[in-house]
């Protein structure tokens, strides 16, 4: 991970940047590796700009909104009792959890490619062996059906941003324009990729990964040098808007008092 001497941690920055992507009135599920990041993003959005946002806890059916609710701690284990009951107003039966509408969800990955396809299954090692990942969980499904999704990568290197995945666990834009349509996929595909170095989205015409901004303190050159897949780099790359005082204040005082995101 690149050095970060900013007055916020990488998980805090990720939570804040991702929270800005969530719109009022939407329904979505935080998940992925270090699921406290998207959970914090969704709660932060509810408490700042999207008070009508609904969170459905991962593969369990807890429907939550934190507006005007008592403070509740943010903890690492996705379905920790304290996480799933915070702000919960209703519980969906397990038989309905998967087909209930999702405007967005989050995915972590071992590898991502230039069309936003992701690998959570296995990675080939240099010595010829392979490293097993955690598996698809429900991401092959969500990537097929949800309106859009956000990929958060804890490592931004040529090993994690690759030209060719060792295994395609969940489909993004497949092989490019037309892929999702040909397969009859429902959702709109990946909307954004965030890493400790910057924020990427997808070019509307080619559906290729495109650099949208670099985080404060990071450089375009280092980001490009550490990207193994094709990446569209516009002539001018802005800096990721820094967390505002209000965002950091709400995040630290209402969402993550215990500092899980600073560990």
């Amino acid at each position: 991970m690149p050095a970060n001497d900013m007055p916020w941690s990488w998980p805090e920055l990720a939570a804040i940047v991702l929270s800005r992507e969530l719109a009022d009135g939407e329904v979505g599920s935080p998940g992925g590796s270090r699921s406290e990041i998207p959970l914090a993003a969704a709660r932060l959005a509810q408490l700042t700009r999207a008070p009508n946002l609904a969170i459905i806890t991962s593969a369990a059916g807890f429907v939550a909104n934190m507006v005007d609710k008592p403070w509740s701690p943010l903890v690492s284990s996705t379905m920790d009792w304290r996480n799933v009951y915070a702000g919960t107003e209703a519980v969906l039966p397990s038989s309905g959890v998967f087909h209930t509408r999702r405007d967005w969800f989050f995915a972590g990955a071992l590898q991502v490619d230039g069309h936003g396809n992701i690998n959570l299954t296995r990675v080939r090692l240099k010595d010829g062996g392979e490293m097993r990942g955690p598996g698809a969980a429900g991401l092959a499904y969500s990537a097929t059906m949800a309106q859009r999704y956000f990929i958060y990568m804890h490592e931004h290197s040529r090993r994690s941003f690759v030209q060719r995945l060792d295994y395609r666990t969940a489909i993004g834009f497949g092989d490019g324009p037309g892929s999702r349509e040909a397969l009859g996929l429902r959702g709109g595909g990946p909307a954004l990729v965030i890493s400790p170095r910057g924020v990427m989205d997808f070019d509307e015409r080619t559906l290729r990964l495109r650099l949208r901004s670099v985080h404060p303190g990071q450089s375009v050159e280092a980001l490009v040098a550490n990207t193994g897949c094709e990446l569209i780099v516009p002539s001018v790359v802005p800096s990721t808007p820094a967390p505002s005082e209000q965002e950091l204040d709400v995040l630290r005082r209402q969402v993550d008092r215990g500092g899980v995101l600073r560990r």
């Binding site: 593969a59 397990s94 998967f98 698809a136």
Partner: protein, 304 residues
């Protein structure tokens, strides 16, 4: 008139039918509602070549059985120890081929389980279209929907020979109630029973049958889907009994450290935690103290 038959059983008797090579479904998800008392009993029995299925997510339950050498094949959509890291015993044995992996997504396992529950040959899903899942797992068949022609995936019915569940409360007839989320336990019970398998549930507490008749909406799983109820106070430990007590993070960290230290360390861990305690009571006395139990009961929303 003859009396009704109680389904209360001790763990040893409840698992007597478990044969090597069986398809075993484990309920709960991640660190929650895992029937760990039953899982330890399976390992103690030295079961071999099991095909282990989890409908959503697994953690120490499956990793422990893998470490104990009980497992030939893993059909689990997510197998990991969340904030403690990857499932290392599984990773080791999958890497050298000692354990076969049936790659899958949660909704594919659900499709297979729903097919079994409905007594159909296969379940269809959109999940996996355009991915490597049907390439690495030949049981997942790419098919065309006969109505529209659009690409789908067919999953063969998954019919467990045995299901292991953990509920908060149960009665002697087999009715089960969950204080927290039942996750996919209802589907597991339906799929297992419909296919002729046995559903074994551990419960923190066996309560009088009048508890259920007083409120027929209390039962999440009806007795007609359950074969045996095993009383096991704190029986999900070190996982949570969702809504009743928390997972034991320090214990899980110790497990993960042993997994990290390698197979010898894991053998010692299994000897100490699985094989040495002669009974569930001996396990509780050895690894849980009153202050630890009090801590596990803290932070439970229902009590606040």
């Amino acid at each position: 008139m003859t009396g009704r038959t109680s389904k209360k059983a001790d763990a040893h008797a409840a698992l007597a039918d478990l044969r090597d090579g069986a398809v075993v479904a484990i309920g709960g998800s991640l660190f929650h509602n895992k029937p760990m008392r039953l899982v330890r009993e399976v390992a103690r029995r030295g079961a071999r070549d099991l095909i282990v299925v989890a409908v959503t997510q697994a953690s120490i339950d499956v990793d422990l059985l893998v470490a104990a050498g009980c497992v030939a094949e893993v059909r689990v959509p997510y197998l990991g120890l969340e904030h403690h890291g990857l499932a290392l015993n599984f990773r080791r044995r999958a890497a050298d081929g000692r354990v076969k992996v049936w790659d899958c997504d949660e909704t594919q396992v659900i499709a297979g389980m729903e097919a079994a529950a409905k007594n159909l040959p296969s379940g269809w899903t959109k999940t996996g279209v355009g991915t490597d899942l049907p390439n690495s797992n030949p049981d997942l068949k790419p098919v065309a929907d006969p109505i529209t022609g659009e690409p789908m995936i067919a999953v063969p019915a998954i019919r467990p020979d045995m299901a292991l569940l953990h509920a908060t409360r149960g009665d002697q007839w087999g009715n089960l109630a969950y204080a927290g989320y039942p996750f996919s336990d209802v589907l597991i019970a339906e799929a297992t029973r419909r296919g002729g398998g046995k559903v074994i549930a551990s419960v923190d507490e066996v309560v009088p049958a009048s508890t259920f008749t007083a409120d027929p909406f209390l039962a999440d799983i009806a007795h007609i889907l359950v074969d045996a109820v095993v009383e096991a106070p704190w029986g999900a430990h070190p996982c949570s009994s969702h809504g009743n007590y928390q997972y034991d993070d320090a214990y899980l960290a110790h497990y993960q450290q042993s997994a990290r230290d390698g197979e010898d360390a894991m053998r010692r861990w299994l000897a100490e935690h699985v094989h040495a305690p002669e009974s569930h009571e001996a396990y509780l006395d050895r690894f849980l103290t009153p202050s630890r139990l009090a801590a596990l009961r803290r932070d439970i929303y229902a009590r606040q």
